[in-house]
Amino acid sequence: MHKFTLAAVSCAVLLCCAPAFAIDGQVLINQSTVMAAGGFPYKITQPGSYKLSGNLVVPANTNGIVIEANGVTLDLNGFAVSGPLSCTGLGESISCSNDPEPNPTYGIVTTNLDFATVKNGTVSGFSGGLNIEGIAEDIFATSNLDYGISVSDGVMERCAANFNRDTGLAIAASAALQNTANFNGEYGLRAATSSFSSNVFLANGNDSPGAQILLTASVSGNNNSCNGSAC
């Protein structure tokens, strides 16, 4: 009888307790996990590695992902963070619908001087597609209102910003390397206290070479191309 009871208890325990263990890894983010966490904006409040496992479609008048911690790496994994804005036309003729002004929205944004790395994906349909302190790599930004990608105190590398209504790329106290900004409504690049090299700017603003880049404060550049000419 004792053996029988022991066996019965063992069976019950085995049935009740599913295996559960945790290892270090990337936290996956997709539309369902965001909605289950309370919806947008999705806030990252802990350092770590995060990765999209699907596109994110962000409703009007809110940000997509807000990074509120230092030491965050966000891999968009080839997916897109999309807001409700849609733009048509190119260069100076770009017009966008669903303008959220005066309350701008961002696809991905850092706050409170939190530094992050964001890479490998698309941001579109916001006031500002990507607005971070830190590193932006391999990001494509399009159909954003004020700018496609803005980086402060960091590095912008191998990014492309096309068909944004105002500015394609914006850097402050940063370096911009091997980026492209084409067919944006005003400037390909706005830069302050920064350096930029090996970038390409084409058909931004009024399509004149002088409109490709707006430089303020102390800025240095080399080996860049503006409408096919060195600039």
């Binding site: 009888m1 029988f4 019965a8 069976c11 019950a12 049935l15 009740c16 599913a18 295996p19 559960a20 263990f21 945790a22 290892i23 890894g25 990337q26 936290v27 996956l28 997709n30 539309q31 369902s32 996990t33 909605m35 289950a36 309370g38 919806g39 496992s53 699907g54 596109n55 479609v57 409703p59 897109a80 999309s82």
Partner: protein, 227 residues
């Protein structure tokens, strides 16, 4: 011995009644139907935690059934943990039901409601590390409690069905065609199956009863032969 046996009879009766009647307690049910668009034959996996998923083929019809206490009748996010969520591909005899945390959200989106469902698997390294069922699709506004409503893709959210297992190694994907909501008592699907644990305990209780009864019948001495 008689008192003990009577006590055992009462306990066994309660356990058996609970096991057999629990599934009949009313619960709302959401059933989502569609077809598989990506299976392990497409190079994802193979499935290890749940090998039955390896039998799924592209084009198979599947259903996802969510039973839960309470109701979903308006936009919002619903924590349905405690409910049951079952992914089933009958043609492949494949099922997945090892979900614990379950969340359903309904978001108005123009003339439709966007439905987002997340079921976290108990297997692997946890929900956030690629062990979940994720669904995103739209239905016409006003059809949230409809017996049958067409389900459509939300622009930008593809695939509408994503079943990730083995820490993301296995990735079964699908399209959603139909959404249906059944209020309590109107379930028209498969007959409910009794929960396994109460049934097990029921069986064990009956075994114990039988054993006690046999011991009593075989008591030696002056009680022998008095049955």
């Amino acid at each position: 011995m008689g008192t003990v046996r009577r006590l055992l009879v009462v306990v066994a009766s309660f356990i058996c009644a609970a096991g057999l009647l629990a599934p009949l307690v009313s619960a709302d049910e959401v059933t989502i139907s569609g077809t598989i668009s990506q299976s392990t034959s497409d190079g994802t996996g193979p499935a290890v935690n749940n090998p039955s998923l390896n039998s799924i083929n592209d084009g198979d019809a599947f259903t996802v059934t969510l039973d839960f206490a309470g109701s979903v009748s308006s936009p919002g996010t619903y924590d349905l943990t405690g409910g049951t969520l079952v992914f089933s591909d009958p043609a492949a005899s494949a099922t997945e039901s090892a979900f614990d945390a379950i969340s359903l959200s309904v978001t108005p989106d123009g003339g439709s409601d966007d439905i987002s469902l997340l079921g976290c698997l108990t297997t692997g390294s946890g929900c956030l590390f690629g062990n979940y069922l994720s669904m995103n699709f739209a239905i016409p506004s006003g059809d949230l409690n409809a017996a049958s409503a067409p389900a459509t893709l939300i622009s930008g959210l593809y695939p509408p069905v994503d079943l990730l297992e083995d820490d993301g190694t296995t990735d079964i994907q699908g399209l959603v065609t139909t959404y249906s909501y059944s209020p309590p008592g109107s379930t028209t699907g498969n007959a409910p199956e009794p929960a396994s644990l109460p049934l097990l305990l029921c069986g064990l209780s009956l075994l114990v009863l039988a054993r006690v009864g046999r011991k009593r019948l075989t008591l030696p001495g002056r009680f022998a032969g008095r049955t």
